[in-house]
């Protein structure tokens, strides 16, 4: 029944990781129709300006909902090195989204400890993707 959630990790210049996660199906995300997918990406990227604006006004990492479009909300989490985790969702609770972000934050820090991972480059690890999807299913459904 629910629309899939879109999770994107954005570095300084470009997205580092993208995943469209259908939290209600038992397999990975099936193809959604192209138009709404593109729209979702557009909404997320246009919310980046708002994230930048509020990044310097608060010193907490979890920025809550930064933008609301139609029935969808964009929640954001900022790491210490200003890497942005953004989630486009249809109104999940604050606590739920915060826990999801914290779990992904843990995976991200572990990934960045890898000497072969260069900071601010796209994340290609399959293990990371699998864990993000599992966390999304665990927390966001």
């Amino acid at each position: 029944m629910s629309a899939p959630v879109l999770f994107v990790i954005v570095g300084k210049n470009e997205p580092l990781f993208e995943a469209e996660i259908d939290t209600h199906s038992s397999v990975g995300a099936p193809g959604q129709n192209d138009l709404s997918t593109r729209q979702n990406y557009f909404v997320l990227h246009s919310a980046l300006d708002l994230v930048e604006k509020s990044a310097w006004t608060t010193n907490s990492m979890y920025l809550r909902v930064v933008d609301k479009v139609n029935h969808q909300q964009v929640s954001t989490f900022l790491t210490a090195a200003n890497v942005k985790f953004m989630l486009l969702h249809g109104g999940k609770g604050e606590e739920v989204v915060k826990n999801f972000f914290n779990e992904v934050y843990g995976y991200y820090v572990k990934l960045s400890m890898n000497p072969f991972y260069k900071y601010d480059t796209p994340i290609t690890s399959k293990a990371f993707e699998a864990r993000v999807r599992a966390a999304a299913r665990a927390y966001l459904s």
Binding site: N59, M61, A80, A81, K110, M113
Partner: protein, 230 residues
């Protein structure tokens, strides 16, 4: 640059550096440790292991650098990547989900938390320059990287702690406060510093030089910080 390690010292628990262990399971499963500055099983890296690897690093770059400043730049860029990772790791281990947005707080974060995570103790002092409002100094009386390094006179002002200034620059840049960080070796005045609790490096004479890390922030960082003040 010569290196004279005395004997393989087994390091003292105070000189802890973040250790990364190899494993056959995915790194995403290994615990990251939630106490600031320590790996989860309390293991630390030996000082002599670091000193040997560091000496190789310096010799490698010296062979490829054409000038003193190029050698310094190479050491700094070697430390930069470490700084980015140390920032994320230390912030995560500190447990609070807070980032630093103000100049003074990021400097405190560097001189206290990052120093503890890397060297086992906080930096000895943090000062602000009187002549220039955009310059700050972090002072360490026992800089780790240059412990076993003696700089020959033809290398002039080179400080072996350029690697550490690269780490600091990486931490500051990652957090959004771009800065130019340089390391300087300054002679300690008589009576300026008395060690509490005995020599932390048993078997070695007390250090005659302290390391001063000069941090010069870019203008946009200062103007942003001033705007936040209001």
């Amino acid at each position: 640059v010569e290196l004279c390690p005395i004997s393989p010292l087994s390091f003292s628990p105070k000189q802890a550096i973040c250790a990364m262990s190899r494993s056959s399971s995915s790194i995403l499963d290994r615990p990251l440790g939630r106490s600031a500055g320590r790996s989860p099983d309390g293991s630390v890296v030996s000082l002599s292991a670091f000193a040997y690897v560091y000496s190789e690093l310096v010799q490698y770059h010296q062979g490829r650098a054409a000038s003193i400043s190029e050698l310094e730049r190479r050491l700094e860029s070697a430390g930069y990547g470490v700084g980015l990772k140390v920032l994320e790791m230390t912030a995560y281990r500190a447990k609070e989900t807070k980032r630093e947005t103000r100049l003074m707080s990021i400097l405190h974060f560097v001189s206290a938390s990052v120093w503890k995570a890397l060297f086992g103790k906080a930096a000895d002092s943090l000062e602000r320059s009187i002549d220039h409002t955009d310059e700050f100094m972090i002072i360490d009386y026992e800089p780790l990287a240059s412990t076993f390094v003696s700089v020959p006179p033809d290398l002039g002002q080179l400080s072996a702690d350029a690697y550490v200034s690269g780490i600091i620059a990486g931490v500051l840049d990652g957090a959004g406060f771009s800065a130019r960080v340089t390391a300087h070796s300054v002679t300690v005045e008589e009576g300026e510093y008395t060690k509490q609790g005995g020599n932390s490096m048993p078997g070695l004479p007390p250090r005659k030089d302290k390391a001063v890390f000069l941090v010069k922030f870019s203008p946009e960082v200062l103007s942003r910080d001033a705007a936040l003040e209001r």
